[in-house]
Symmetry: C2
Subunit: 204 residues, 2 copies
């Protein structure tokens, strides 16, 4: 997979998201698949379009076959709309594939593998890895244009042992808000900070 032009990569650790069939009529009941869908939507969509410089990566750690990692590339994805049910349908399709350590294409721009969190981080060693945590340093004051991988936990957060691995591989632990936010909300703020910098808008 080519990530040359994909400078904004967002990586969610989804602690209980289901790794096989689930009902599109109960996304919260599928290990909070609704959170996963919103995370993907906010990583990729703007008004009337997709961010071709962005990708969403989610490691699903729920039953019955963890880990599975789904990757959606903005420069390749097709047939996706920003509503939760549409994205969930595409995820469900990808979860039917037999996974291996290498990426397998499920539909245009959507890939799946059996990689765990550490293996995903190792894929993006050349990016600046930023772990988002409430007590991190204020990102707005400490950012410049770069090739990024932003790492976020879901509503449960990241278990201690896994967090140690993430921090050891991160360039920075950063925060975006004085308030505890949902993962998809963090993505919007990250995009806005980067959009403003890239287009010469000041941040304040």
């Amino acid at each position: 997979l080519n990530f040359q032009s994909v400078k904004r990569k967002f990586f969610l650790v989804a602690n209980i998201a289901r790794t096989s069939e689930f009902s599109l009529n109960d996304l919260p009941g599928a290990g909070r698949m609704d959170i996963v869908c919103r995370f993907i939507a906010q990583s990729l969509f703007i008004s009337h379009g997709v961010r071709r410089d962005s990708a969403a990566i989610v490691t699903l750690l729920g039953e019955p076959e963890p880990p599975k990692t789904v990757l959606i590339k903005g420069d390749e994805v097709k047939y996706m709309s920003p509503d939760e049910r549409n994205i969930a349908g595409l995820l469900k399709k990808s979860l039917r594939l037999k996974v291996e350590k290498s990426w397998k294409k499920s539909s245009p721009g959507i890939y799946i593998s059996s990689k765990d969190v550490e293996e995903v981080l190792d894929c993006f060693q050349s990016s600046k890895i930023v772990y988002l945590r409430e007590d991190g340093q204020d990102l707005v004051k400490n950012i410049s244009i770069d090739d990024f991988l932003f790492v976020l936990g879901d509503h449960i957060g990241v278990p201690d042992e896994l967090e140690q691995i993430i921090i050891s591989k991160s360039d920075m632990v950063a925060s975006l808000s004085p308030i505890s936010l949902q993962a998809d909300q963090c993505i919007i703020i990250l995009h806005n900070i980067l959009d403003r910098i890239e287009r010469g808008w000041s941040c304040g």
Copy 2:
């Protein structure tokens, strides 16, 4: 209705959102009810809680009985979770009520009326009314703590005639980003700006 402590009010003009029964399995097909649901979710939810100082207001202008305006108060709402389907279910319930010009309670914290956009604006004359438009002045540089009503269009925008009314009643036309964003994305950025100011975090 008492808005004493509800300092952040977000008002969406939903040009084609349906005003009667719709299917929870096709929210985009119900006049982009998915956009309405995400707008409400992002107005009210943070991680593990609801913003009690916030309210979401949506004027639905789609068939068959426009206008209908739904109002959700963060300090009263119950039984709501941030996934689109849950919020759509609550909206659907409210749309079954026979509407009048005055607010009628549909479920805890959720009210509906037959008010149109201008009548909604007149309800909040005492708030600082900010209309969000791509070519507005940069909000980050022109904001201080206040009692706000932020007005936004959906994916279609706001029709010219209606926009004239909104602008005539607004204190400010503001922009948040050099990029055209979805309404729910604007809400997150607005909340973040206000959170930072209120808690003494600088914006840059």
